[in-house]
Subunit: 528 residues, 2 copies
């Protein structure tokens, strides 16, 4: 942390800005601890590539496509092999008319009305994911706000509030109020006099009184004042009946339910913090934008069976699905973005360290459901526009659509984002049973559910044939032992993808790992 | 609070939904404490009006226009007199080409690029302002999210953090962390054993550990874990350099600065809670939408000088500004929405109680400034998309534009939203001095300010000729003494506007007061 005073820092930055423009300013600000928000400081600079140097990329997800895009720009000759018949990988979107086949052959036809969609994979973009935002800007992907924290969303716990869903604003205010009252009591009793200076004690008591909405006796009690955060029984209005009436606070025991502070902490999370974004029209707008750049390099329906390497290059064997014929591609280097969950299906000629790392990382099996309703009752009846409602049931959460708010007609909400045990439970069901479970559980929040329901689709990631899992899940022990081995180039092969990053499950991680992978190749090429 | 169990409540609501549809459901849910978010349950039902009954409305702001709209729908004959040459009142927007004249004759020409604007008056709409949202829906006013809480906005205090602006996420995390650690200490020392049951104590310690990101010793210390909320020195990335490094937490004394908890509490405020909205293209889209309905009833440039009433009607005298001629309008009733700050200029024939109430309420003199810059450096360099940065300087806050994020070219941010002393200071300056002050103060956050600045405009509400103030400011004592007298019909005259509501300064208050005013007239008419 710099010891410089504010004025001289400012003067210096102004000077830097005048001399060097925005990029220099950004670097300087980062040095001052002002904007260190990403590993990304701009697209990779791959100057001095040998003409004709070639790379084969396995997988046309974001990691593979950004690698191909930047390599091509730098003068490399690139080919991409993709298992599916479309680009994007987990960056995809289901719309009416699409169908989805699980690994056991179960088929679901999506029946959403035109314009409605669900993003089964990634669905939100943090404001600090500068690498992803860079490519969205560059490729003209239109973004709109993804409402994350919605104070009017619900929190439901079977073991608190008599099972009644509460608004976020209610439980968050009560949590702050009760804990402030308790800390105030301890301070006033002198219990913390050895930990807090007399001056800080006074400041803290003042802070708690305001922050926790405490009354003159430093108690958290129902009042119009408290209602100015937790909401009213009757909110302020106009004319003769304009006076508000207070709501009744909940007790300490209820707001200590783990569901309450888990939900509050969720919104504090760095990768979950507002402002967030989504592409207008569906997340696959990003994958499609990349494919507009590198689509002509992609061979679709190519099931990779073997990656062989030697001193002079890499040979990748694959089966062309339509013809069933075996084919091969040779190149100087290979970027492999195939998920670790299915890489065991590929014969990989790599060293023991990388081989061990590839086997070490388990995948989580999240499940998402999109439910279409006749109208936006969550907006019209419940004043909920975007954001989430959380529950300790299997569905875990509802998320309300962020696009076309206030519009009439059918709309799709995320009716489940199940993890862990909840995902196992729902995945084990038939698609029809999953819908029934989602309706039954979601009714806790919205009694309108049954009346307004039209159709739905569920995507259990552990049964998605081309990945058999959703996101890599690194333990700290595995990171320690295997991460470095996983991401370092092995001969002429280097891995990329969200699993090759500290941003597991985030597109930013895929892109940054893709850039580091080609940076390693380029370092090798230019060092040679 | 109902004692019913969740399933039977749900079953009942489902039944109600099947029988009565959405409106019945909404009513029922409100009864269950589910959705009591507004005094508004739908537009007023004014059946049985006497044909030809007439009302003159003073002022074509939102209160006056909603009154005229609903009265006309019900069969009343309505005329509106408006002082200005446009509808909307404080609901307005300044764009390039507009000019703004202060009460002392000072003229500012707005130089913004096409599409850029500033809303000098109301500028954000809470999700629970159902009355306003109802009319936006009905009149087809397109809305977009107004980003309120932005974890990446700055908080600046001259007396904390050595004057260095901090990100909201940093100070909010540190505040929670330090207070959690202290409360944990007090609990573990047994200091609260008389206030908290043994079971709750265990639950609370567990809650604090997670919510406050405490370490195994229940201490708040710098770590990657803490950085997962307050941000990193180097955030997670991909490939070889993917491992994050932690940021350094601030000390307790700094986060106890009032600027910190004031900013945090601001976001908790019921009327400030996410999700919020703004009209696409400028706030005056709402005033214009109302004017599309009632514009033909409005006489513009009409300066009301006298409101006389007797047993059989009301006569309003006004000066037609272009001709200078005195005119008058007679009607059965009058809705007066003229702000209390200038109503002393009108000879009002009302009883002593209303007369006293009209004199009792002072107005606040906020000041707003719009600054246009060559590019969105706050987005491009600082990762700030919408939301606010707060300071204890006179400008009080910056607010970043919520429209057309990621776009290229000039953009306007709110460079000051000064209240109280800060507003006095800035209002006393010339427009050029205000700009200089705003640039100097705003530079604390953004060293790019000087380099990127293009032009700006300031609106000191206490010098806006047609109101001489911004919003009514009721004290509790005044409410007690005068509110009821202000909003109750006096003979054939009834007042409306934000000042006649408990939502001072909010459009919802104006609309609800306008609806209550015409409800009073209608009750009188139909009772007669």
């Amino acid at each position: 942390m710099t010891e410089m005073t504010t004025p001289s820092r400012r003067q210096l930055l102004t000077l830097i800005g005048r001399m060097g423009g925005a990029a220099a300013m950004y670097q300087a600000m980062t040095a001052f601890g002002h904007a260190a928000e990403t590993q990304f400081t701009g697209p990779p600079v791959l100057t001095g590539a040998k003409p004709g140097a070639s790379v084969v990329v396995l997988g046309a997800g974001l990691a593979g496509m950004v690698a191909a895009y930047e390599l091509t720009k730098a003068g490399y000759s690139v080919k991409i092999l993709e298992f599916q018949d479309r680009p994007g990988g987990r960056n995809y979107t289901l719309r009416g008319g699409d169908s989805f086949t699980e690994s056991d052959g179960t088929v679901q036809k999506v029946q959403f009305a035109p314009g409605n969609y669900i993003n089964p994979g990634p669905w939100r973009i943090p404001h600090h994911h500068r690498c992803l935002l860079h490519y969205c800007r560059q490729f003209g992907v239109a973004l709109e706000p993804f409402i994350q924290l919605n104070h009017n969303g619900f929190i439901h716990s079977g073991s608190a509030f008599g099972g009644k869903p509460m608004r976020y604003k209610e439980v968050a205010t009560d949590f702050r109020g009760h804990t402030s009252e308790l800390l105030g009591k301890a301070l006033n009793a002198g219990a913390l006099d050895q930990s807090v200076s007399a001056e800080d004690k006074e400041k803290l008591l003042e802070a708690l009184r305001h922050w926790g909405l405490l009354d003159n006796n430093m108690a958290y009690t129902s009042s119009v004042h408290v209602s100015s955060q937790r909401g009213y029984d009757q909110p302020p209005g106009g004319g003769r009946n304009g006076a508000p009436t207070p709501s009744q606070i909940a007790g300490l025991s209820d707001v200590l339910d783990p569901q309450v502070w888990t939900a509050m902490s969720f919104y504090f999370n760095y990768v979950m913090q507002t402002t967030m974004f989504q592409p207008v029209g569906g997340m696959d707008m990003i994958g499609k934008a990349f494919a507009r750049q590198v689509g002509k390099l992609i061979t679709y329906n190519a099931k990779v069976t073997k990656v062989a390497q030697g001193g002079d290059g890499v040979t990748v064997s694959y089966k062309d699905a339509p013809s069933g014929k075996m084919q091969s591609v040779s190149a100087d280097y290979c970027v492999c973005t195939i998920p670790l969950s299915i890489i065991s299906q590929v014969e990989m000629q790599v060293g023991p360290k990388l081989a061990a790392a590839m086997k070490a990382v388990p995948y989580a099996g999240q499940l998402k459901m999109g439910l279409e309703f006749k109208r936006r009752f969550w907006e019209e009846d419940d004043n909920i526009y975007g954001g989430h409602s959380f529950t300790d049931q299997a569905i875990a959460q509802l998320s309300y659509p962020n696009d076309r708010m206030f519009s009439k007609g059918p709309a799709v909400l995320l009716g489940a984002f199940a993890r862990d045990l909840g995902a196992f439970q729902l995945t084990a069901m038939t698609p029809e049973q999953r819908i029934e479970a989602a309706l039954k559980q979601g009714e806790v929040f919205h009694p309108q559910y049954r009346k307004e329901y039209m159709n739905g689709v569920s995507v259990p990631w552990s049964r998605v044939p081309w990945i058999l899992g959703c996101t890599s899940r690194w333990s700290e022990a595995n990171r320690e032992k295997h991460y470095r081995n996983l991401v370092e180039m092995d001969g002429r092969v280097v891995l990329a993808g969200e699993h090759a990053s500290y941003y597991g499950g985030w597109m930013e991680g895929s892109l940054l790992s893709g850039i580091d992978a080609i940076t390693q190749i380029h370092e090798r090429v230019t060092a040679a």
